[in-house]
């Protein structure tokens, strides 16, 4: 499209005459009417009036104007409504610019009228400069599938999957075990209602198995993920089950034929990392932990060579002992990571004797004992009958909240122990339960469980034993603590000791992280914003829920799963809508330095066939950090282009404060700093008139070239204000811009400009007071430095 000269309509709206009272509006408008590209410049009475809109329509249709600069203070409704209304008669919604003179502090008390008029003139020239360069833009629509990949069929994955199938989305559930259910399937009961978790799991499984949209991939792992949100290709590796899922109906005839009895207990080779118990079983057995899918599974490594008993007796011919591993590629729009947790290896906490003494068990093993006891089954460990246990101790925070092990709180162990103690006391009131703890953390209504346990006479000791020893004579576990209330040592002998161990990310987490290129936090859990967008990972289209994100109880895992599912819907609608404010790379000037590829906080940049960086628009969150960091300044967010900003910088007339006073251009992050600057003006704070600010998508979007430009045009100082470093909405924009300040320093020194003229600030959204005092001290420093040598 050939560029034609812009035809700008400048409409100044001044309801109540507040601007007119402070400024010589008529003169301003008359002057601007003669400016380049201005076709109309008028003071309007009511932008909503039919007469005005009619005239506007006529102008647009006649081609007299092709873009609008709105000057004045417009409501959010007007800013949304007017472009929508005018787009009906052909004005692209991106051909509007809004210039609010008030927010720049023009109406603050105590300014002399000449200064007000001069500053208004500068602001309007800057607004015009940008308006001239506006381009019509259209949103993009990328094709997308309606399928979602869920990694992990535990409680979070199952709930998310069931809900998404209800919404008509195709769901691929990938699970590394032979059956669904995850850790929750191992629990006897869960709090606060103390009901059987299998009930809630079965509810989801029933929904999923009834839906034609759900597909289970058990014994499977994700090998790689390619593509982009809306269109990922996930390569799934499936280990052989040795039983054909479509044929096996779970009749169990094979169980009688199988000659291999595997004992209950810990799986050999796994005990160091997975302290939970597998039940006694045959080499061929139902899926585990839940018998879903119904097909059996063969633990082939335990089969005698040549034995084919199960295959021979199977009435449906489902057993296939020569099944090979397979690989599938699934096309999905989004990925939900619900890979869950594993217990911390308690043997590492040597002082508590886990795996040294049989009567010291993990809390997860206690769940299995409680479950077995309740169900009257022979139990996972027949020698342990809870009924015979008279003195039962619980040690909390084993591994958790310990600098030597896990510095974080695993968040559920207190409530889990309270639940276990309550179940034991209710089953056997004669049993004595002792809980050794640092703090009891029973948030919210879990406190009821704590009270219930105390009412049942559970003894709580706010102290942790230093070590546990076995008395070989009595076979009891001896431990000694100081009662902090009595300041007296207490010695006790226990029949059973339960270690409330911490949670760590599931064993396969690093593999998943690698396959998804998904950052992990310092504890190994998947990184998240945790606060404002807890479900979001740092990779667009990939959402993390449940304990893969952080330790949480079952109910929170389910909530987080639904949140993740809801957010993922955006990429499961058959198309992904992209706002046109995405980055564009000028490949004719790109020298392929790859900084954008490396530093994009969301890894949105890839390479095209000629090795030029190309943003994956579905992944891009449009923060503009690429625009800020490109050393050549050739990446631009559309509608916030470097050219537009440079034109505004160029239009900044440095003389509006006179000769003596310094003038400053401030780039304010639109998330926090922009709002607090407006807030400072609205509160009538003493905002010095020397500043003019521009709103940027992120402090990280400010390119060094713009700063150097500003200083070379004689602007005395440049302020870049972003969020505090650990609070950036785009992960690290405010860090990146400061990281680049070294380069900027060199550049400015070569230009004989003091690098101290550039200032960075990290501000929070309500830091208006801090902002104002910063402006004053900054001005003081600039005055000491004297005028910019380029100021003529």
């Amino acid at each position: 499209m050939a560029k034609t000269a812009p035809k700008i309509a400048l409409w100044l709206w001044d309801p109540g005459g507040r601007l007119a009272a402070a400024l010589d509006l008529e003169a301003l408008v008359q002057k601007l009417a003669r400016a380049k590209g201005v076709a109309r410049a008028e003071i309007i009475i009511d932008p909503g009036s039919p007469a005005f809109l009619e005239a506007l329509h006529a102008d647009l249709e006649a081609g007299v104007i092709d873009r609008i600069l709105w000057v004045g203070r417009f409501s959010d409704e007007q800013k949304r409504g007017l472009p929508a209304e005018l787009s009906a008669c052909g004005l692209n919604p991106y051909l509007h610019h809004w210039c609010d003179l008030e927010e720049q502090g023009l109406l603050l008390a105590g300014l002399e009228p000449g200064l007000r008029n001069r500053k208004a003139g500068v602001l309007l020239e800057m607004a015009l400069a940008r308006t001239r360069l506006l381009d019509p833009l259209e949103p993009l629509e990328l094709p997308a599938t309606d399928a979602v990949l869920i990694l992990g069929a535990g409680v979070a994955g199952l709930h998310a999957g069931a809900s998404l199938t209800e919404l008509g989305k195709r769901v691929y559930l990938v699970e590394k075990e032979s059956g669904a259910g995850g850790k929750v399937a191992l629990l006897s009961r869960f709090f606060p209602r103390l009901c059987d978790p299998h009930c809630g799991l079965q509810f989801c499984l029933d929904k999923l198995s009834a839906s034609p949209l759900a597909e289970f991939h058990t014994l499977s792992t994700l090998a790689a993920l390619e593509g982009s949100p809306g269109n990922f290709q996930a390569r799934i590796l499936k280990n052989p089950r040795y039983v054909r899922e479509e044929k096996c109906n779970g009749c169990g005839v094979c169980l009688a034929a199988c000659p291999v009895d595997l004992p209950a207990g810990q799986e050999p080779g796994l005990e160091k990392i997975a302290p939970f118990l597998k039940p006694a079983r045959k080499a061929i057995h139902p899926a585990y932990p839940l018998a879903f899918p119904a097909a059996f599974v063969v633990e082939r490594q335990h089969c005698p060579p040549e034995c084919r008993q199960c295959a021979m007796v199977c009435p449906t011919g489902a057993v296939d002992l020569d099944q090979p591993p397979t690989e599938t590629v699934l096309n999905v729009g989004a990925v939900l990571v619900t890979t869950g947790w594993d217990p911390y290896p308690l043997s590492r906490v040597a002082e508590f004797g886990y795996q040294r003494y049989a009567r010291i068990i993990s809390n997860l093993e206690m769940e299995q004992l409680l479950g077995a006891d309740r169900l009257g089954s022979p139990g996972v460990l027949p020698e342990f009958s809870l009924g015979d246990m008279k003195e039962i101790g619980f040690i909390q925070c084993v591994g958790s909240r310990d600098e030597r092990h896990l510095p974080y709180c695993s968040s559920v162990c207190c409530s889990a122990t309270l639940k276990q103690a309550v179940l034991i006391k209710e089953m056997n009131p004669q049993a004595n339960c002792y809980v050794f703890y640092i703090d009891i953390r029973s948030p919210g209504f879990d406190e009821d469980l704590y009270r219930r346990a105390r009412d049942l006479g559970v003894v709580f000791n706010r102290e942790i034993p230093s070590a546990v020893d076995l008395d070989p004579g009595t076979g009891k576990l001896g431990l000694r603590v100081i009662d902090p209330s009595l300041n007296t040592p207490l010695e006790m002998n226990l029949d059973l000791l339960v270690l409330a161990g911490g949670m760590i990310p599931a064993q396969g987490t690093p593999d998943v992280a690698q396959a998804l290129n998904l950052p992990q936090n310092s504890y190994g859990f998947f990184e998240s914003h945790y606060q404002c967008h807890p479900e979001e990972s740092q990779r667009t289209g990939i959402y993390v829920a449940g304990c893969a994100r952080e330790p949480m109880k079952v109910s929170h895992a389910i909530e987080s799963a639904h949140l993740a599912a809801m957010k993922a819907l955006k990429y499961l609608e058959g198309r992904v809508l992209i706002e046109p404010t995405y980055p564009v790379v000028d490949k004719t000037r790109c020298d392929q330095c790859k900084r954008c590829v490396e530093e994009c906080p969301f890894s949105a940049f890839g390479f095209d066939e000629k090795s030029f960086p190309t943003p994956d628009l579905a992944r891009c969150r449009q923060c503009g950090n690429c625009m800020g960091l490109c050393p050549l300044g050739i990446i631009s967010l559309q509608h916030h282009t470097i050219k537009q900003m440079a034109a505004q910088v160029e239009a900044f007339d440095v003389s509006f404060m006179g000769d003596k006073e310094p003038v400053v251009l401030a780039f304010l992050c639109k998330n926090d700093a922009y709002h607090l600057a407006r807030g400072a003006v609205a509160a009538g704070l003493d905002v010095p008139p020397n500043f003019i600010f521009l709103e940027v998508p992120c402090a990280g979007a400010v390119n060094n070239a713009l700063v150097a430009d500003a200083l070379s045009f004689g602007i005395d100082g440049v302020l870049i204000a972003g969020c505090p470093e650990d609070q950036c909405h785009y992960v690290r924009g405010s860090q990146l811009v400061q990281k680049r300040s070294g380069d900027l320093r060199d550049k400015l020194q070569k230009m004989m400009i003091e690098p101290e003229r550039v200032r960075f600030a990290n501000l929070e959204i309500r830091d208006s007071d801090k902002y104002v005092s910063l402006l004053h001290s900054y001005l003081g420093d600039l005055k000491t430095m004297g005028p910019n040598p380029f100021k003529i």
Binding site: Y450, R454, D483, S485
Partner: protein, 193 residues
């Protein structure tokens, strides 16, 4: 001093049976923080509760703290777990009396006893003269101090002259039977000498 565990649940159970359950305590120690008499106590109120929960009967009945308690009930009022701490201490006083374990504070214990006994005898109101006589004789027997006795008699005479001390007992309450029933239910008994 090392306690022997397991704790003896019987004391805790007896308290619970008297609607004075202590197992809810989570050792916030607010009771001790607000108690105005801790300066004179050998055990703090929270320690009394903890020892009672752990069944350390000897220690808790033999302590001085339960006799120092003036039943102001600040602890009970402020306990976040609704434990009637002052009530527990009162129960412990009675229990100590029944078991004759008042050696730590015999005079306070005796005052406590003669006060209640006098009320019981008089059918619900306190016959001051009788109480003072009984307690005075006990004290004279335990700690003969003729000077103090002379001083007290003088004070008694002055009070009597001003009409502040009545020799005749007060009238019993209208429903004396109820008072008797209360004392019966509390199994009022005294072994302290």
């Amino acid at each position: 001093m090392t306690q022997n565990f397991p704790p003896e649940p019987s004391l805790s159970a007896r308290l619970a049976a008297a609607s004075l359950a202590v197992s809810r305590c989570f050792q916030c120690r607010k009771c001790s923080g607000g108690c105005p008499l801790t300066f004179a106590m050998d055990l703090l109120p929270d320690q009394v509760i903890r020892l009672a929960f752990l069944g350390q009967e000897e220690q808790v009945l033999g302590c001085r703290a339960i006799w120092v308690c003036s039943s102001c009930e600040t602890c009970t009022t402020r306990c976040p777990n609704g434990i009637d701490i002052a009530g527990v201490i009162d129960w412990l006083k009675e229990e100590a009396g029944k078991q004759g374990k008042t050696a730590s504070q015999p005079l306070v214990a005796a005052f406590h006893h003669y006060f209640l006994e006098s009320i019981r005898k008089a059918g619900g109101r306190l016959p001051e003269a009788r109480m003072l006589r009984r307690y005075g004789l006990f004290k004279l027997w335990r700690q003969p101090d003729l000077g103090e006795l002379a001083g007290n008699l003088k004070l008694g005479l002055r009070l009597f002259k001003k009409g502040r001390l009545r020799l005749a007992g007060p009238e019993p309450l209208k429903n004396r039977a109820e008072i008797d029933e209360i004392f019966k239910q509390a199994e009022f008994k005294w072994q302290g000498k």
